[in-house]
């Protein structure tokens, strides 16, 4: 099957978590504290899509499926989409624009600082994701800018790690996957390639 045939289905699949959330909301299944539940679930999916996006390039290399690259932008935008839902839930549903409380929260709670930082880092990536922006920025500059996805993902995982109270196993799973995905890139860059071509291709974001 071709990318063109599969892509719409991937798009629909990426909307399933949102649909599931809406369905649970409609059936009153979002626990006694629905706002907390929505916050957690949208946050989970933002992080999952971020890691999926970062998995594309290593998978493409390892499996040799070059067509995978055409899903990267969509997955990245879905990561941003769920992160935006996550942040809006916090700003609107949780705090309802109580900016004094929100400001204190962002400044004083280090996990909120980390999460907010992650979102701010993703914002320029989402805004420059379309083809005309790539052209306007030029490939090299665009790629340099989009390396912000790495600190954004780190901020997201740290955000999760810092917010759990006692059992850090779930965020450690995300941290392990992220470490793997970033480690693979380092390996590709420094170990897996002859020195000559490494220099030539080092500017490619992966």
């Amino acid at each position: 099957m071709t990318v063109r045939r599969i892509k719409p289905w991937v798009f629909v699949a990426c909307l399933v978590p949102l649909g599931w959330l809406l369905w649970r909301g409609a059936t009153g299944a979002l626990t006694a504290n629905p706002i907390e539940d929505i916050t957690h679930r949208t946050g989970d999916w933002a992080l999952r899509f971020l890691l999926l996006t970062l998995a594309i390039t290593p998978l493409r290399r390892v499996l040799g499926w070059s067509s995978l690259a055409s899903y990267r932008r969509m997955l990245g935008l879905f990561a941003f989409f769920y992160a935006a839902l996550h942040l809006s839930t916090y700003l609107v549903l949780d705090f309802f624009f109580a900016f004094d409380l929100i400001f204190d929260d962002i400044v004083e709670r280090r996990y909120v600082t980390a999460g907010f930082t992650g979102f701010v880092l993703m914002l320029p990536l989402a805004l420059t994701s379309n083809t005309s922006m790539i052209r306007r920025l030029g490939g090299a500059r665009w790629r340099r800018l989009h390396r912000l996805v790495y600190p954004a993902a780190v901020a997201g995982v740290v955000h999760y790690l810092w917010l759990v109270k006692i059992d850090i196993t779930p965020p450690l799973v995300y941290a392990a996957v992220l470490t793997l995905l970033l480690g693979v890139r380092l390996w590709f860059r420094y170990a897996a390639r002859p020195a000559a071509s490494a220099g030539a291709r080092a500017t490619l974001p992966t």
Binding site: A32, N33, F95, F96, E108
Partner: protein
């Protein structure tokens, strides 16, 4: 009340513990399901697979210490719980707490007291006390709150029966530790058993109660059945559940959350909007069931009654 006369020969003397526990479990589940069917109880109906035996509590008096705030629904109160002995998700206690056996139950009372140390059967512990309904605000350290119509009696009345001596400066409490029935105790989280403590004047305060029920019925396991502490001016984790031990001690006892993360959880843990927790601002809270956050009150709105206990103390230092 919960008074049941023990038979001359206890089943525990005849049948291996493991076996009768399972059998009781089965009977509890079955009777709970029947009770649900008979009363058409929507609540029990929700958990047909995990139904627990419940009794309606008789002769419950109203109390002037109750708040006028609207109580949360029974469903909210029994499905959204922090009871890490059954897992860290708030739905875990409702899912898994039925695995805990609460009958028979006894409480070990010991320490600096004139009466001899004893294992007191729950029936004997409850017998002299008149049940009261106490509708209290409950404020969790995670910045959410509920209003719960507890049924219980003043802890002070229980303490007096054991005649603590002048050496009894604190009361130390302990929760059941039974990993085979409490799956959260098998995983990585707090250190078990869960322990908590109160200063003697806090323990003797008229607002401090031991609860055995909610909404006129005995507690479900996820709420800390059969006996739990309720201290409404402190964060919820102080109100220890499923108590098996009470000790009168001279030194300030450890409390579990303080042991795990001392920088975040103190011994006193009085609700205080001005002392922030590193993870949650304590300035506001979400009342479960309401959309808008409300501002958190000092001592959870009980300052008039309890602030005097802490005169001269720096509450930022003794958080």
């Amino acid at each position: 009340m919960l008074i049941k006369h023990a038979p001359d020969i206890r089943s525990s003397e005849i049948t291996p513990e493991r076996v009768y526990r399972n059998r009781r479990q089965f009977i509890q589940a079955a009777s709970g399901a029947v009770a649900g069917a008979v009363t058409g109880g929507t609540v029990l109906g929700h958990y047909s697979g995990t139904a627990q035996a419940q009794e309606v509590l008789q002769d419950v008096r109203k109390s002037p210490l109750s708040t006028d705030d609207e109580p949360n629904s029974y469903e909210d109160i029994t499905t959204y719980n922090n009871f890490y002995e059954f897992g860290t998700d708030k739905g875990d206690p409702a899912r898994y707490a039925h695995e805990m056996t609460i009958d028979p139950w006894s409480v070990r009372v010991e320490g600096a007291m004139n009466k001899p140390a004893a294992n007191v059967a729950i029936e004997d512990l409850l017998r002299p006390h008149t049940l009261e309904e106490r509708i209290y605000r409950l404020r969790c350290v995670e910045a959410w709150s509920m209003v719960v119509p507890w049924v219980g009696f003043p802890l002070a009345d229980v303490i007096k029966r054991f005649e603590p001596t002048s050496k009894a400066k604190y009361v130390r409490f302990e929760t059941l530790h039974r990993p085979e029935e409490m799956r959260g105790q098998r995983g990585r989280s707090l250190q078990w058993p869960y322990v908590e403590g109160l200063r003697m004047d806090e323990a003797m305060h008229p607002l401090t109660i031991l609860a055995v029920g909610v909404y006129g019925k005995t507690l479900l396991n996820q709420q800390g059945a059969p006996l739990r502490l309720v201290v409404p001016w402190k964060y919820g984790f102080k109100s220890i559940k499923s108590i098996v031990k009470m000790a009168f001690v001279e030194e300030q006892p450890l409390n579990s959350w303080n042991v795990s993360i001392p920088s975040e959880y103190g011994f006193y843990s009085n609700v205080n909007p001005d002392v922030s927790h590193p993870r949650w601002s304590q300035a506001s809270e979400r009342r479960i069931g309401s959309f808008f956050r409300i501002r958190t009150q000092p001592f959870n709105g009980y300052a008039d009654q309890v602030a005097g206990l802490y005169d001269g103390m720096d509450l930022a230092e003794y958080y």
